[in-house]
Symmetry: C2
Subunit: 580 residues, 2 copies
């Protein structure tokens, strides 16, 4: 490709609404162009990256035996009504009516359509297992689309769906996809982790996320540096605390803590570590009648160590707390006789249901709110000042330094961007849609399903979050818009430069290198700045002075400076660098 | 590919709603699956065809210097309001509101978005010409979607848009696209014609359609077998009639034609050729005030020869008839004092505006309705029985046998399916959106635009309409789902068959042949029927008996019978047949 035949459009400034570096750099490098909130045109430079991502995904999906289909973007509501998702999904599901007033949706994923295909096509266990995938436009009407391709509304996703005759076979299909995902992410050339994840609203038993490691990631990833344990913080278990509870040593004492409404402030006032304080969180659960009216509300008090954070996924798994909400201030005052900031389990106005984190259950002499404004209590002990806790559970996020659940050391935490997800779905969808096949025993049997997603347009953004510097993007070779750029200096003035440039360009094309020749005639500074912003990993510069000494310059995007190369060495060296 | 790893799903019967052969065969061959009215899943077998079409289109677009982008499927209404198409387009434009109540549309084409890109990106004449294209999902909310992929609602289209600095340059861009289209359609291996077309609602001056020739086509294509003249019948001009009008010979005579309300019936009654009769068509045009109320209606009478059909495009170009409609029965009775079936230009109740086709203007002694039920008049002559016509125009469709407008012989008519269209748009969109660049003279100047479409998902349907027989589809090699199928007979029983099959399969894979090995273990009859239905062009059958004599069987899908080939000859012969 010659640059003059292509569309190169770089900007000095990022748009004001670009909050993260990938959004800024993709816009400045002319890879995407905003059309509306969360809706982008993939410009030629960006589309080349997306096409390379697609090609790798497609190759590995095919290699894993998955079969490509394309399901409609605009889907009739009927199937979505069968599973109930037409009503259950929030406004993220974009609903439309056609000219005849019939309901349609724009696909956010395609479980319903693919399950409908399976129940029509896969009549017998002999046709199983099967895995159908598509690489296709999706839409989610995010409330606050932002971060460019990271959280857009329209995006391209690879979604695959496996159909198996039983759970054992489904586990094999799941593992095959997991292995394919590892090959895919290895080929992208990114640092990533496969981490255990909560399966969330989509349901199912087993689920792992593929997270690209980046300091700016939305997700916290917990991992053990000495083993292969890795999990999303939502999912990561904390081990039960080691020893038994120490004996009580302090007497109960009410202390004035004027204005100190946080655990940290109280710990600072007392000169004690934050881990000696207790955090009181008040939740509520409602019971409704058939008309949907709330007929009963239960208020809950959760106790966590002051230096720990509540894990909503874990809390939601406590018996009775599946549909918890945070209690209102009125509910808190009714039960505690006090506003938030000074709450605790002692001296309640009305009984609440107490749930105690495992770490709290083994603490002695702790500090909590007194249920009186500007007062706390210290020296609190279970079994003495309040009953032994009945409900003890893992309620907290793990923290760096916690022991790894696999006993192989202590945990570390880093941030990541989710770009892939493998789910074992079980029969959630096949049951809702009565999707069956004839099993070996001749009986109609529900498909065991899995689903597997990769955010094709999100991936380039994640790659940039991981790989950039002050000058711009640094693409891994596999997904760079071009692998190599040839920058001739003064090609219009020097016949030598023109000849050697055209010769090198032709040789690289013959070798199948994805090369771009910058024949725009820009000044060297502007030309280099463009390609450093765009992030092409390999660059060869040809100038009159160097060529007269038989030299050109090679520089990898990560190199601090250029390396002179004898002209005769250029092609062999590039072949080595590019693995050709 | 091995068939056991793929999804082959053939049906004996076509669905009841499949009216045309391509819809029937694509459904029966398992290439598409209906999800809703005009909305189809592209199944694995069909998607392979679509991907091959896309690849050819992409290659030739790139070769022609066009640059690929991807514009959003869901587009904000604002740009569509700038050109007025948001309001002007009918219900084919699917309009949506997002969660915030903002208006969006699903792209039917992308003139607005691409013009918006151009006005931001192409600041100077130095950046021109440019041609941007995409291969992307489109949606048109057809009132009556039908015919499978031929007239679906969701479809894939390649749409390209050229931007030039002036008309001369735009003509070159247009011709470059036209040449690319010829290469594309040549590569598809289909019989087609590039025909002149009316540019219709999209506007602009110059426009050609690429029509795949098929007896079932919706469009009538007029062409000259002795020259390269070809046009859509909408556009094809009829030459002015040859000689002057003959002298009047008959006297005016009112004749009883009881129940004969058509020209054909009257001609039959009189034993005269249909071409002696005159067809009276009554149109009306309304004038509205600013409030949109009709303040005046003009009624028009068009006279055409009884054997000619009215051409609505040509009629619409007559001064004053741009927005014509057919007159109501009440309007007809008011002006003619008679119901339709016996109308004519004599004895009117109220004056009408008369427009006469050129052929009629040179007729003498013609027959028309008497404006009295069950009566016609014969021997009618201009200048004697009614005034010489003031308004004479080309109002009719050409018919086979008409002289070719280029004087190279007479015209023939065949039917075609439009799968490509090249338009010169001029400044229609750049003007509406004030899309300018700085010209050499330093002044902001409107882009000269062209647009160029190919119906990617329609093309396979058109190919089938042209290439099928009673047993199924006959794909051209270039777009077949597989180029060649290997059908082993009794592979599970004969080690010889198994060995030679695997060997041939491996050799063909190495040669890069897109081969499928049918290892499903079907009976030969069922297996052959499947592949004939699916339409794979080349087939090799390996059986135990033949192999013992060192023979396999080759059959092209168009061959009446198989040809025995010595085993050693198979690969060389296939290489020759496949051009490898």
């Amino acid at each position: 490709m010659k640059a003059s035949q292509f569309l190169i459009s770089t900007l000095k400034e990022a748009p004001a609404d670009a909050e993260i570096v990938s959004h800024q750099l993709m816009t400045r490098a002319g890879m995407i162009k905003k059309l509306g909130a969360g809706v982008y045109t993939y410009m030629p430079m960006g589309l080349r990256v997306i096409r390379k991502v697609e090609a790798i995904v497609r190759e590995e999906m095919n290699r894993a035996g998955a079969i490509e289909v394309t399901m409609p973007v605009v889907q009739p509501a009927e199937l979505w009504q069968e599973t109930g998702r037409f009503d259950k999904m929030g406004p993220e599901l974009l609903r439309i009516q056609d000219r005849h007033g019939r309901d349609f949706i724009i696909q956010p994923t395609s479980e319903e359509v693919v399950t409908d295909i399976a129940r029509q096509e896969f009549k017998s266990y002999k046709q199983l297992p099967k895995n159908l995938y598509q690489i296709q436009t999706k839409f989610r009407d995010e409330r606050r689309p932002r971060f460019g391709l990271m959280r857009g509304r329209e995006f391209i996703m690879k979604d695959a769906y496996s159909f198996d005759k039983d759970r054992d076979s489904a586990q094999i299909s799941y593992q095959a996809m997991r292995a394919a995902y590892q090959r895919i992410f290895d080929r992208f050339g990114l640092q990533y982790r496969a981490v255990r994840a909560d399966s969330g609203a989509i349901g199912g038993d087993l689920s792992e996320e593929f997270q690209v490691i980046a300091a700016t990631g939305e997700d916290a990833i917990v991992y053990c540096p000495h083993s292969d344990y890795a999990a999303n913080i939502e999912k990561a278990e904390s081990l039960p605390p080691a020893g038994p509870r120490p004996a009580a040593r302090e007497a109960l004492e009410k202390i004035a803590t004027p204005g100190n409404s946080t655990c940290q402030a109280v710990a600072d006032q007392l000169g004690l570590p934050l881990s000696r304080t207790i955090k009181s969180l008040v939740l509520a659960t409602d019971t409704s009648n058939e008309a949907g009216e709330v007929v009963k509300t239960q208020v809950w008090l959760l106790l966590l160590r002051g230096d720990h954070d509540m894990n909503e996924v874990k809390v939601g798994k406590v018996d009775g707390l599946a549909n918890f909400r945070f209690a209102s201030v009125a509910e808190i005052e009714e039960h505690f006789g006090c506003q938030p900031g000074y709450l605790g389990p002692l001296n309640l106005q009305k009984p609440v249901k107490l749930v105690v984190d495992r770490e709290v259950a083994v603490m002695a002499d702790w500090i909590c709110g007194a249920n009186e404004k500007d007062f706390h209590i210290r020296g609190v002990n279970f079994g003495r000042d309040l009953p032994e806790p009945e409900l003890v559970a893992d309620l907290r996020n793990v923290v760096a330094g916690d022991p790894s659940p696999d006993g192989q050391g202590v945990l570390a935490i880093e941030r990541g961007i989710e770009i892939g997800h493998v789910f074992y779905l079980g029969t959630k969808y096949s049951e809702a849609m009565n999707a069956t096949f004839l099993a070996e025993n001749g009986k109609p049997t529900l498909f065991e399903m899995g689903c597997y997603g990769i955010g094709v347009t999100r991936l380039p953004a994640a790659a940039i979050e991981q790989n950039h510097d002050a000058r711009g993007i640094i693409w891994p070779d596999a997904i760079a818009p071009f692998t190599l750029v040839i920058c001739p200096i003064g090609m219009d003035r020097s016949e030598l430069v023109r000849q050697e440039t055209e010769k090198l360009y032709a040789e690289l094309l013959v070798l199948g290198v994805d090369v771009i020749l910058d024949d725009r005639g820009e000044r060297p500074g502007a030309m280099f700045a463009d390609w450093e912003l765009i992030g092409v990993p390999h660059r060869v510069v040809l100038g009159d002075r160097g060529l007269k000494d038989g030299l050109v310059e090679y520089q990898h995007r990560r190199d601090a400076a250029a390396t002179p190369l004898p002209l005769a060495e250029v092609v062999p060296q590039l072949r080595a660098k590019l693995g050709l």
